[in-house]
Symmetry: C2
Subunit: 313 residues, 2 copies
């Protein structure tokens, strides 16, 4: 009898999207109250430093700093989070305090999306920066207990916040989002559904997407979101790939979806346009050669990979 | 050319798990400030009433009540959430106030897990109750703004809480959890990895599982959690099914995973035991006929479906 994974592709679709190159060894079972302090005493410890969505780069263009650099910016051990280890050296992250002045000539601040699309740093760094950005955003917005309103304190290496007043423990959140390419027909009549949000760059069309809600399966969320945004009914759903999307902390769950209908009833509050595209059109959109200037999202986006996987099939 | 979904199974694996039978039409794009009040004025409106994990049942064993029943228990419109519509009638949910006395002879309170495993109510109700339970738990624990500590108010039909003090909008959370069946070998040597948590019923073994963390793909979380809990290294990962798990608000993401190693290094803080099982053993565990009394989780659990899909392949 053949093995369960015989015939499964050796290349993982989730490995092709932006922010998926994280190689940090998280050792999540070994986090403790003094994880960050112990890690910072290791001379080999290095930190990612962020201000909101922006990443600080060192002189040589790399995003890592020593603990002395962090201290000089006013970052205390109690403000850092321990991402894990890389080559047995602790790897941390911290937000640069608002009060700190940054010499942007020496250490420029570059937007994380820009870093991802220009390839300015390695996929390993981008993955770790996604982890850092999501965690730091959560700490920045969760200084108080949602259960009782008291101040909370960072705990467990940055993977928890504790409320001393009511005893509630709070954990970082990750919001699952379904993103789906609806496919209708077969052969030369096969077409895919793409939509435009108002804030997209001119000509860009992408896969429909929306937050998965409490009490839904992935497949149910794909059907609901597609129906709500486009009026198209979905039959079978096939998982393709997932992606961490650190704006601020999403898990993108990418699927192909079987369209059972073709009559688009667009939700005008969500989408500026929504239409069917042929394989030839979609291919031209991926390569930037569409006659009308339409284009697909950049290769770092999971929507790009959903379209490409269908085009190249 | 064949269609993209030719050969895809007509039966959806996610449709076989407990709590996946939700048929509520959520109409998420049409929620507004007065959604709940308008819905409650509809004579056809019906509510699910919960106290923590327990569901109130009406005399005929069904979990639906009219708005007069809710009012009699001291539930105001401002405390209910609008799940959506069923057969064009509004379907809501509310927590029974602590102060309300319930006549359990007339309207018994039954634990949601018990209802799910005994099949006391329909799959449609169980799915809606999962949605209700996750939402109501979130409201119960999020009366204050995590950003500034002020009190928040329910908004948008129960799908948001707003802070008037700092303007932050808070949304219900759903926590992605990976649950995976590691498979090693092929043919008669093929075996799967199952573990026991201390709190499991005697003899029960299940698939390993853990929370997906910020900055991870599903596949990376499967590899990390398996390695951390069992020491087993994972190669390819194949998504199988997902499940809403309302204790309190998880999205279970079920995968099969290719084990590359066999030497178990168990994390004793997470697992009381962890071992390899043959197909014959796993089959006996599913049917409750294992010679040593080992058993798999119940059919409502996604872990049961991961094991069964492998056994029946």
């Amino acid at each position: 009898m053949a093995g369960f994974f015989d015939g499964a592709p050796a290349t993982e679709a989730s490995g092709l999207v932006g922010f998926s190159g994280n190689r940090i060894d998280r050792r999540s079972e070994h986090r403790s109250a003094d994880s960050v302090a112990v890690a910072l005493r290791d001379a080999a410890a290095r930190l990612y430093l962020l201000r909101g969505d922006k990443v600080m780069l060192a002189a040589e263009g790399q995003p890592l700093f020593g603990s002395a650099d962090a201290t000089a910016l006013g970052i205390s051990a109690g403000k850092a989070v321990l991402l894990g280890w890389a080559d047995e050296a602790p790897r941390l992250a911290a937000a640069v305090p608002d009060a700190a002045t940054i010499d942007e000539a020496a250490t420029p601040l570059i937007d994380l999306r820009t870093l991802a699309s220009t390839g300015g740093v390695s996929p390993e760094h981008l993955g770790a920066l996604a982890q850092a950005r999501s965690l730091l955003f959560w700490h920045g917005r969760h200084g108080f207990c949602a259960n009782c309103g008291a101040r909370t304190e960072i705990a467990n290496g940055g993977y928890r916040r504790d409320c001393a007043a009511c005893g509630t423990q709070h954990f970082p959140r990750t919001d699952p989002v379904v993103i789906m390419l609806a496919i209708h027909g077969a052969g030369i009549d096969e077409r895919v559904l793409l939509g435009r949000q108002l804030q997209f760059p001119p000509g860009m069309y992408s896969a429909l997407a929306g937050f998965l809600e409490p009490g839904e399966t992935i497949e149910a969320a794909v059907r609901r979101e597609t129906l709500e945004e486009s009026g198209i009914r979905i039959g079978r759903v096939r998982y393709h790939a997932s992606q961490p999307w650190p704006f601020p902390a999403m898990l993108m769950i990418g699927c192909h979806a079987e369209a059972l209908t073709t009559d688009i009833q667009r939700d005008a509050t969500e989408l500026e346009d929504c239409r069917w595209f042929s394989r030839a059109e979609a291919e031209a959109m991926l390569t930037g050669t569409h006659a009308e200037g339409f284009k697909a999202p950049s290769p770092i986006a999971i929507a790009h990979r959903l379209v490409r996987a269908w085009v190249e099939r």
